[in-house]
Symmetry: D2
Subunit: 134 residues, 4 copies
């Protein structure tokens, strides 16, 4: 699945109007974005922790779907996120790559930056359980 | 701060219309709830992972505010969540208690169950950085 | 398996001379201990982080074996530990209880205290994969 | 500090006879190794989880010391490790790089492989608290 297919699939599965967009995907990594003007900012005018968690989760999910196809019932089994720097109020861009893609389990590294910046705002390790093909 | 004060504070900080409610707080733990009919369900008709992450985060934040007062700028520094059972489509109820409440750092254990059930749907360890009083 | 059986099993599996002891186990939790005089202290004269990680891992493993029997090939699939207070140089005592005991996966909460103290030195969430019975 | 200095420092701080060696360090990352013949193997003849946790911890500590100098009292504040593939019985090689190097906190990504292999055996995120210079 390419970025266009992934966005259609996610809109279909979760409903439209969400602030997340899959921007690009290649053999190695996927890029996802959350639009700052599509989310409520938290006190201090920064994008909230839960918004970044949801971005990490959707980036990991997209990376898995891009490689195994449209398996709606893949489910998050754990997510560990560490917040490294203040998020600010710009768009946030996530890069997802595999630590492991197994038949039953995928483990994805996700790194989040402010749009155009080099430093990390957050890093997550997201584990998905992949249902058996039947 | 009691449950009523916490809900007012959170509505003020994040805006109203959110699906989370602080239900009760005592010396030891805080109870928070997410209303199933206030959130979009994910494929499989269950409450989504990011909704449970946001519930864990708000329960931890509420527990900290209940003990140190209204410090809007306390920020999540890490969140580790493990999903243990399918969430289902009922309300989810979170119980937050301290692993540590220090001056600079609070670490909160959050356990999430389907309303009325004994088994855990998810467990999280949430760390907040507390800004210095100045 | 009771505490005596577990110690015999662990000595057999990993070799004797280790500083860890399963002290007690009941329906709900297991207690394990590391002897301070059996380990090298780190700078600052405290028990090292890796020693506490190993204690958390063996306490979780013991808790699982106590409930499913002697399955040597159960393996750790993840361990998240947060250090909460300075360990000091006394014995460390770990209490392990289940967040989930499934057929394929067990998730164990482990809380570590200095012997006789109430405050937590560390808390861990340990996930084990349980091999299929064949 | 270069690899030679780091090994001297670690031997001095923790005592010699340990199975860990800092092999190389440059501006970006540090390489550490655990010798398979220096550790007790676990059932299944693989290097144990706690040995890999200790390797991740020492690699992260070495990476920090290489950049801030010999600060013995830097302490681990959390460690999250995920085990991805069976370790086998060869030497294990860890690569540590910064997610963040701040004044008070360093967050290090550690990736562990079997010597000479491309696939990851384990990945860890290790957070160290750095004491204030006084």
């Amino acid at each position: 699945m390419n970025a266009h297919d992934l966005n259609l699939f996610l809109d279909d599965a979760f409903g439209g109007g969400r602030p997340f967009l899959i921007e690009d995907v290649d053999d190695v990594r996927l890029i996802a974005r959350v639009h700052a003007d599509g989310v409520t900012l938290r006190p201090g005018a920064t994008i909230s922790g839960p918004t970044l968690m949801a971005l990490a989760d959707v980036a990991a999910y997209g990376q898995i779907l891009a490689h195994i196809g449209p398996v709606a019932l893949a489910v998050t089994s754990s997510l560990n996120i560490v917040f490294l720097r203040k998020a600010g109020r710009s768009d946030m861009v996530a890069e997802a790559s595999f630590l492991k893609l197994g038949r039953k389990l995928a483990v994805v590294d996700v790194r989040i930056r402010s749009d155009g910046a080099a430093d990390l705002v957050a890093q997550a390790v997201v584990t998905y359980a992949i249902p058996s093909a039947t």
